[in-house]
Amino acid sequence: MIELNNIHKSYFLAGQEEPVLKGINFKMNDGDMIALMGPSGSGKSTLMNIIGLLDHPTSGIYKLNNTEIASFESDQLAELRNRYIGFVFQSFFLLPRLTALQNVMLPLLYRNMTREEMKKLAMEKLIKVGMKDLTHHKPSQLSGGQQQRVAIARALVGDPKVILADEPTGALDAKTSQEVMDLLIGLNQAEGTTIVVVTHDEDVASQCKKVTRIRDGRLI
């Protein structure tokens, strides 16, 4: 479904080219559950942002459903992110002023939908992640594990094809990490959602169908 061909990404610091991704070839199919592992600074997050259409590669070909998206405008990319991709971040990135429910509704605000529909969908996902009773809590009133559940519900609410989770368990203890992993594995199994998980934890990686390793900007 998503195919990367010879993707390069460089940063330019003071005119000096700093290559981060050095020719990535990567393919994801419907229903995949992939763990992405690699040392710190190897380019995992950079790769995830490119897969998630948040960042542009310096060169290379990105194909979504066999369509090259290099020429897409920023508005179209936003639309694609909204429909196809759900992000889960290491530090949750919930909006502190909003309740759990409102946070989950966020992606739906950028679709043409009535507020009732938004609430209904958000509620469904909150129930799915086991946060039924805490929908009106602010993030500051929730534990780390609970916040990550809300964040997963937010990633799920638009029914995306792909969930991109960048170290989703990085800020959690072993027990809550496992709960979050169970949730993601359940999604992959029950609904066939394609999931990419960045992790440093071999335990977490071993639960995925496939493990991809990256070192110094190259997949190995």
């Binding site: 508005d75 990135f93 909003l98 966020l106 992606p107 950028y110």
Partner: protein
């Protein structure tokens, strides 16, 4: 994304930082309030002034004759000339009443005290035209001829009372070098701008008695009450030609309530323009304050902007979000400013004893302007927010 959602979101955001939001709109509030207060105040003042004319009616016309030749009139007998003025005035078409009068500024003395005031030499029609009412005694009558009688204006009367002259009727007041007997006291009248002097601060004496006071005094002013439903311009023309025939050396000047009202309106426009200028400066300062706060808000909410973009917000969604916030902020400031301004205008009216009206125009202008301030000064921060790079904002600290 619906504008309703933007509105809801911006309200939520603003309410979550109440104090800051309030401080941000303070400038807009003050700006709008001053514009509204000043414009309303100006309108109330004009309205108050116009009310005077409504009392008297707008069917009045004031005429002043001025001698243009230096020497020509010296040979003419003043009394004959004054009689001529009266005669000409009385024979005009479409004029209901005419009251020639003279103004003099001779010294007024009572009991060794000097009083400041004007002397008005008038005939009995003046009472009818100016709708003068008496509290005591009677007004000048045409039968008084050159008699040394006088009628006191309200302020003069009060001054005399404060000097200990309680029973004024029959008392003697020295005007110039002659003594006049008080025969009446006028009720307080509203100032009116087309009678040459303030009646309250005047002493009215018979016209021909006034001529005798001073060499230069002539009956060179006339107030006309024109017939109802008559256009004032043809009457002016006929007055001009009538006086031109009898007094070829005199130039004629008109003042009608219409003209004075128009003049006042023009003056009010200038005034409003000036106030608008002051108000706009306040609003610009307020707008810069809003821009500043919005810029701070953009910096603080970088992470939020990144998250929104990651979940599908387009650049223009972000821009619209911040712009809506700025406009809601300034509109709120505008609302409070309009209310404050009206309260101030109301207090000014109360103190000045004007009638208070709620004018719609300042309200609309206040709202409109504050919304514009929001759009104008919110644009740059909103644009800045929309151009943020989501990757940058989402990089872990």
């Amino acid at each position: 994304m619906f504008i309703k959602t933007h509105l809801r979101e911006s309200l939520q955001n603003l309410l979550s930082a109440k104090l800051r939001s309030f401080l941000a709109i303070l400038g807009v509030l003050v700006g709008t309030a001053s514009v509204v207060a000043l414009v309303s105040g100006g309108q109330l003042a004009t309205e108050h002034a116009l009310a005077q004319f409504r009392e008297l009616g707008t069917d009045l016309l004031a005429v002043t004759l001025q001698d243009m030749s230096r020497d020509g009139s010296k040979d003419v007998d003043k009394e004959t000339e004054s009689e001529n003025v009266t005669k000409v005035a009385n024979h005009l078409k479409n004029v209901e009443l005419s009251a020639p009068y003279a103004i003099d500024f001779s010294a007024i003395n009572y009991d060794g005290h000097q009083l400041r005031g004007n002397i008005v030499g008038a005939t009995e029609t003046l009472q009818k035209i100016l709708k003068l009412k008496l509290t005591q005694g009677r007004f000048i009558s045409d039968l008084d001829q050159k008699e040394s009688y006088c009628v006191l204006g309200d302020s003069i009367y009060k001054k005399l009372v404060s000097m200990g002259m309680f029973d004024v009727l029959g008392e003697h007041i020295r005007i110039g070098d002659r003594f006049f007997t008080v025969i009446g006291v006028l009720q307080k009248t509203n100032e009116n701008m087309f009678f040459l002097v303030d009646v309250n601060n005047s002493i009215v004496i018979p016209a021909f008695a006034a001529l005798a006071l001073n060499n230069y005094v002539t009956l060179n002013n006339v107030v006309f009450k024109i017939k109802a439903d008559q256009d004032v311009n043809p009457i002016k023309d006929s007055i001009t030609s009538a006086f031109a025939d009898s007094f070829p050396t005199k130039k004629i000047f008109f003042r009608s309530p219409q003209e004075i009202i128009n003049g006042m309106k023009k003056q009010n426009e200038t005034f409003t323009l000036l106030l608008g200028f002051i108000g706009s400066i306040a609003l610009i300062v307020g707008g810069i304050g809003v821009m500043n706060i919005m810029l701070v808000s953009v910096v603080e909410r970088r992470r939020e902007i990144g998250v929104r973009m990651a979940v599908g917000a387009k650049r223009r969604d972000i821009q619209l979000m911040f712009l809506t916030e700025a406009v809601v902020l300034t509109l709120f400031g505008g609302l409070m400013g309009v209310m404050t301004g009206e309260v101030v205008a109301w207090m000014v009216a109360l103190i000045s004893q004007w009638k208070f009206h709620l004018y719609i125009l300042p309200l609309i202008v206040g709202f409109f302007v504050s919304a514009l301030v929001g759009i104008f000064f919110g644009f740059y921060p909103a644009r800045k927010a929309s151009l943020l790079d989501p990757i940058e904002t989402l990089r872990s600290e």
